[in-house]
Amino acid sequence: MSVLNVEDLRVTYTTKGGDVPAVRGVSFSIDRGEVLGLAGESGCGKSTIAGAILRLHSPGTRIEGKLELEGEDVLSLKPGRLRAVRWTGASIVFQGALHALNPVQKIGDQIQEAIQVHGMATEKEAAVRAGALLEQVGLPPRRKNDYPHELSGGQKQRVMIAMALACSPTLVIADEPTTALDVMVQAQVLQLLRSLQHDLGLAMLFITHDLSVLVDVSDRLAIMYAGKIVEEGKANEVFHAPQHPYTAALAAAFPEIGDTRFRHKPAGLGGDPPDPQLIPSGCPFHPRCARAIDACRTVVPELWDAGADRRAACVHVAGAPSLDSVMS
């Protein structure tokens, strides 16, 4: 059974300047023990999805579609049940380097708080568990009396991971967990995440803009653009044999050292990722696409078959319906 099942999710922010459709119909599912990587740039909606799963958005935000966590419909949960599910069903690893940790509270206490809020243990038990969690993420348990400013970036990120695991969730959402960390520390944290995920059999949704990181960490990969998924499939295959022009361009931005194709030839796209309030018609990528044809301005692509266990939203893929019906 899938741990997380998302069907046609739509999230729209209501602001003074009008409605902002951050997510425009996204569907995916994650099974137990599986890691799904969600990649995309600014404005694509990936971080919005992380918040939507635990219903962390402000009340004015419109969320439509189906969102099921271990079979339970998250969008219709009563507040009491929602609070119970938060952190025990699914938890989030935020970017620790930012202000996700309370600067005036010891880190051990912060982890304990997560446990005690769910009434899962007495104070003594929670303290012991906090120490155990710290050890699990590679920090000596005595550091639970430290304050966040006494830790380095990498250590803070480990604390975030420990907190996310505090209530033994089935799904962990990692939202840009290694951005702003040095390469070496990033590698350490990724290794930690991978091994924890493997040992605890967690389902994981890994969200980042750094595509190269995802290929290492994920089993499957979904690429987002302008609020929709434009390609999905097995991580390795999507990166090395992209079917959607955007995926190809994104992958080219992370060239492999030694690949002479990119030597002295930086590959980039013109234009910018679109503003969610000004999404182009038809295929939202068409203004920047090297393979755009006339039909791309009007046809709204869906995720069509693009190979074995691969789908992409582009008129050029094998599984796309013929355009004759449109051209008349």
Binding site: E41, S42, S152, G154, Q155, D182, V183, M184, V185, Q186, A187, Q188, L190, Q191, R194, H209, D210, L211, S212, V213, V215, D216, V217, A235, N236, F239, H240, Y246, A249, L250, A251, A252, A253, F254, P255, E256, I257, G258, D259, F262, R263, H264, K265, P266, A267, G268, L269, G270, D272, P273, R288
Partner: protein, 357 residues
């Protein structure tokens, strides 16, 4: 070092040296609280840059790579005269850099900087025109070499930076542009002065991935068409692979390896370079347990004795250094860069015994 580089210039087709950094040292004073200071406690200075020799040649792209705290950004800022070094000389076209602001002014026309944060680099209250024209006004440039007006020069700079038509941008404010456009404005501001050298400090790390290629392409165009030399400070070796002619890897305030990009990135001779290359997410080797350096990036106030990398060096940690009989030297003997190939230098005791890391 510089002589050796010059002698071999032909093989890599390096031009004349345009910037020469010699034995640069930059310290940051220790920060001691008032009470501790009164009690006689002395903090240790952070040696951000501890003896760096570097030469930038005309028309080349040199990447200065390393983790945070290695001193690459400090070196770049010292190069621009934004930080005063404790020791060492910086020469532009053979002439040493003066210390005071006024004398530095003519130099500032020739060497320009592009910063990491495009949003922070632009004064939110200035229009794009004013931002690009600022350099011209500071240097009292009313006329271009062919009689162009200030507006002509601004338009030219904006066009060269890829913002066309330039008139459209004159009255806009930075917050009305995207990240990529803002960085182009910063670049245009630098170009307006027609510099010979551009120092780019992480020019694309704050930008979306798909936009990076264009900005990098711009920098390369400047190198090709305008003969501008470029020093790129970055932590991303993949970026160095894409644009750099030579790569210099820094660790704890020193250059530990430097050479042609192909050599350094494909045939590294320093264990640190090798470690950095190993952790670049090598797409395609999913799940492979890689040898990752443990611990944090080191503290510039406590520089280890001997080879400053030895506490984290995999060769020492695995015992191989002991086997090869060099462990004592690694722990006790500091060492300079040694030649390991054509234009390729590295500072490691393995070189003496002809071993690879």
């Amino acid at each position: 070092m510089t002589d050796t580089e010059e002698a071999r210039s032909e093989s890599l087709q390096l031009g004349e040296p345009i910037i020469e950094i010699d034995d640069l040292e930059v310290n940051f004073a220790a920060r001691v609280g008032l009470i501790s200071g009164l009690m006689g406690k002395k903090g240790s200075d952070a040696k951000a840059v501890d003896g760096v020799d570097l030469t930038l040649h005309e028309g080349e792209v040199l990447a200065l790579a390393g983790e945070s705290g290695c001193g690459k950004t400090t070196t770049a800022r010292a190069l621009l005269g934004l930080i005063q070094p404790q020791r060492g000389t910086i020469k532009f076209r053979g002439k040493a850099l003066p210390r005071d602001t006024r004398s530095l002014r003519p130099f500032r026309r020739e060497v320009q900087m592009v910063f990491q944060d495009p949003t922070g680099s632009l004064n939110p209250r200035q229009t794009i025109y004013e931002i690009v024209a600022e350099g011209l006004r500071i240097h009292d440039i009313d006329e271009g070499p062919n009689g162009e007006t200030e507006e002509d020069l601004v338009a030219q700079a904006l066009s060269r930076a890829g913002l066309r038509p330039p008139q459209r941008f004159y009255l806009l404010y930075p917050h009305e542009l995207s990240g990529g456009q803002r960085q182009r404005v910063v670049i245009a501001g630098a170009l307006a002065l027609e510099p010979k050298v551009i120092v780019a400090d992480e020019p694309v790390s704050n930008l979306d991935a798909s936009v990076r290629g264009e900005i990098l392409g711009l920098l390369m165009k400047f190198r090709d068409e305008l003969r501008i030399s470029i020093l790129i400070v970055t932590h991303d070796l993949g970026l160095a692979w894409t644009v750099a002619d030579r790569v210099a890897v820094m660790y704890l305030g020193r250059v530990v390896e430097i050479g042609p990009t192909e050599e350094v990135l494909l045939r590294p001779r320093h264990p640190y370079t090798k470690a950095l290359l190993k952790v670049v997410p090598e797409a395609g080797e999913a799940g492979v347990i890689r040898e990752i350096l443990q611990g944090e990036p080191p503290d510039p106030t406590r520089i280890p004795a001997g080879c400053r990398f030895h506490p984290r060096c995999p060769v020492v940690a695995s015992g191989r250094a002991a086997e090869l009989g060099i462990e004592d030297r690694c722990r006790g003997e500091d060492l300079p860069l040694a030649e390991v190939g054509d234009q390729h230098f590295a500072a490691c005791h393995l070189i003496d015994i002809n071993q690879q890391p």
